[in-house]
């Protein structure tokens, strides 16, 4: 059994390497075709090593990539945290009450398709501060997936479970904590996972608009304005790695909270 497992991991590592290899090939080819306009993998690697040399440098004029990453993550964490804090209870209320659903759903449907970036100027107008405006934007874009999924979960609590609650006279609190929330939890986590994915995409765009310390700013100022395309590629790789890591965390949570019915 153990051997089988290691054989499986070996093969998945091999497939992963094959994928990297193909990607690298295409990348190198594009580099050649653009005559170095897009730097090839090896010169990008050189820039990459240089960029991560002093990751947590935090001087006023020079900040390391780690510092920028952390500051982006911090904004995402605050926006996502606040957004979830609102979205989960509102979603559960919407899913549990037909009236709440009818009142809130039209608003959600109208606001949900608005591009998160459209909220940025509004945030700027409210807070007069561009990093705060980025957080505000994250907050808004984290609301919808969580809210909708929480509402879906809550509205699908099986009649059997509700009957148990009625038959044994559960208090409202018992119903919430022992039936509604546990049943909705997998759905809520799905919503959180979608939200964090969007948030991570949006933060880069937001920081490109807003400036300040962050990955988006790194892409814009040092990469584009600095004429260093390799830095853009480095940033893309780092953003991708961190994004997939975040996704992994929530996939793990999802598995942890799924029950055999």
């Amino acid at each position: 059994m153990k051997q089988l497992l290691s054989a499986k991991t070996t093969s998945s590592v091999l497939y992963f390497l094959a994928g990297i290899f193909i990607m690298g090939g295409i990348w190198a080819l594009i580099a050649k075709l653009t005559k170095g306009e897009i730097p090839d993998p090896s010169s990008t690697w050189v820039v990459f090593k240089e960029v991560i040399k002093q990751p947590f440098q935090n001087d006023s004029d020079q900040k390391g990539i780690g510092t920028k990453l952390l500051s982006s993550l911090g904004r995402v964490a605050i926006g996502f945290g606040l957004g979830s804090l609102f979205a989960v209870p509102i979603g559960l209320v919407m899913g549990s009450s037909k009236i709440a659903m009818r009142i809130l759903n039209p608003m959600v449907q109208i606001l949900k398709p608005v591009s998160p970036l459209a909220w940025f100027p509004l945030g700027l107008a409210i807070f007069q501060d561009s990093p705060k405006a980025s957080v505000f934007m994250i907050f808004i874009c984290c609301l919808w997936p969580t809210l909708i999924n929480a509402a879906f979960g809550a509205s699908n609590v099986p009649q059997d479970h509700k009957n148990v609650s009625k038959a044994f006279g559960f208090s409202t609190w018992k119903y919430l904590s022992k039936i509604l929330v546990p049943f909705s939890l997998p759905h809520i986590i799905t919503g959180l996972r979608l939200s964090i994915g969007i948030a991570w995409m949006v933060i880069v765009a937001g920081e490109m608009l807003s400036g300040g310390t962050g990955l988006g700013n790194f892409v814009w100022e040092e990469g584009f304005n600095g004429g260093n395309t390799a830095k853009i590629l480095v940033a893309i790789i780092i953003i991708g790695l961190v994004g997939s890591l975040l996704d992994r965390c929530f996939t793990w949570l999802q598995q942890k909270f799924s029950y055999a019915l």
Partner: protein
């Protein structure tokens, strides 16, 4: 002197009570002209119609009928899960408007909460139904009832890790644990093997005896032997739609009943044949169609 008067008083009181029970037994459940219709996409479907049924306090009643005839629906009107379209149901002298912990239910599909362990499933029910007890008393109840159904060793498992029969026993322990005046059991032993089933029959009767036979039990079953062994009367239902009560068969066998001896009792065989006739009669009609 004073003691003797109280003694006299209490004896007359007791005789009065016994007399009143003989002449006019206390009614536990009264189903009064109940009809239940469901709205379906294809129109209104009447499951049961004009059901009248009176169950006295301390009686055990078995409900028998073919699948889909409306047994669970009728049970639902007593538990308060199903609202009658016409008529009303009284339980414990109160009109049934909603479910309540005075009526313990074993659901046909167990209805355990899949994210709670066996122990927690019962604990949460006990805490909700018996709010005034201390947590030590709650724990004692949970343990006693889990031991009764032989699941104490499995108390930390989730329902998904149990077999069908084990889930059913958890559901039974949960209903018993809240010690309701009325027990409503919807095919409570359906998923059990013969041996476990027999043991559960004994436990059910033990529980009933413990409570001075004051607990009223209504159970749905497909098992004629089980119905006769446990019940004071067997309610046989017609096939739906608009199922009615076909016949109520009394089971005047003396208690305590012994599983082995009872089957040789001529009265037992007579009731058995009667019930079989009522059910098989319908098979033949079905065949002719």
């Amino acid at each position: 002197m004073s003691t003797s008067t109280t003694f006299e008083e209490s004896t007359t009181e007791v005789t009065d009570r016994i007399l009143s029970q003989v002449t006019q037994p206390e009614i536990s459940i009264r189903v009064d002209n109940v009809t239940v219709s469901f709205k379906t996409p294809k129109g209104i479907y009447t499951a049961v119609k004009d059901i009248d049924l009176t169950v006295n306090k301390g009686e055990i009643v078995a409900l028998i009928g073919h699948s889909g005839c409306g047994k669970s629906t009728l049970m639902g009107t007593i538990s308060g899960m199903v609202k009658p379209s016409a008529g009303q149901v009284y339980a414990n002298d109160k009109k049934v408007e909603a479910p309540g912990p005075d009526r313990g239910i074993v659901f046909q599909n167990y209805s355990l909460l899949p994210w709670l362990t066996v122990y927690k499933n019962i604990e949460v029910a006990v805490q909700s139904a018996l709010k005034d007890l201390s947590s030590a008393e709650w724990n004692k109840l949970v343990e006693a009832n889990l031991r009764m159904v032989n699941l104490w060793e499995h108390k930390d498992k989730l329902p998904g890790q149990l077999s069908g029969g084990m889930k059913q026993r958890v559901a039974i322990a949960r209903a018993f644990a809240i010690n309701p005046k009325i027990l409503l059991l919807d095919e409570p032993f359906g998923a059990l093997d013969a041996l476990t089933k027999s043991a559960m029959h004994v436990e059910l009767l033990k529980l009933w005896n413990l409570d001075n036979r004051e607990k009223t039990i209504v159970m749905v079953t497909h098992d004629i032997e089980e119905a006769i062994f446990l019940a004071d009367k067997v309610v046989v239902m017609n096939n739906g739609p608009a199922a009615t009560i076909r016949e109520i068969v009394e089971v005047p066998l003396k208690r305590p009943r012994n599983k082995k001896d009872i089957v040789h009792d001529p009265k037992y065989m007579e009731i058995h044949d009667r019930l079989l006739g009522l059910l098989i009669d319908k098979f033949s009609i079905d065949d002719e169609r």
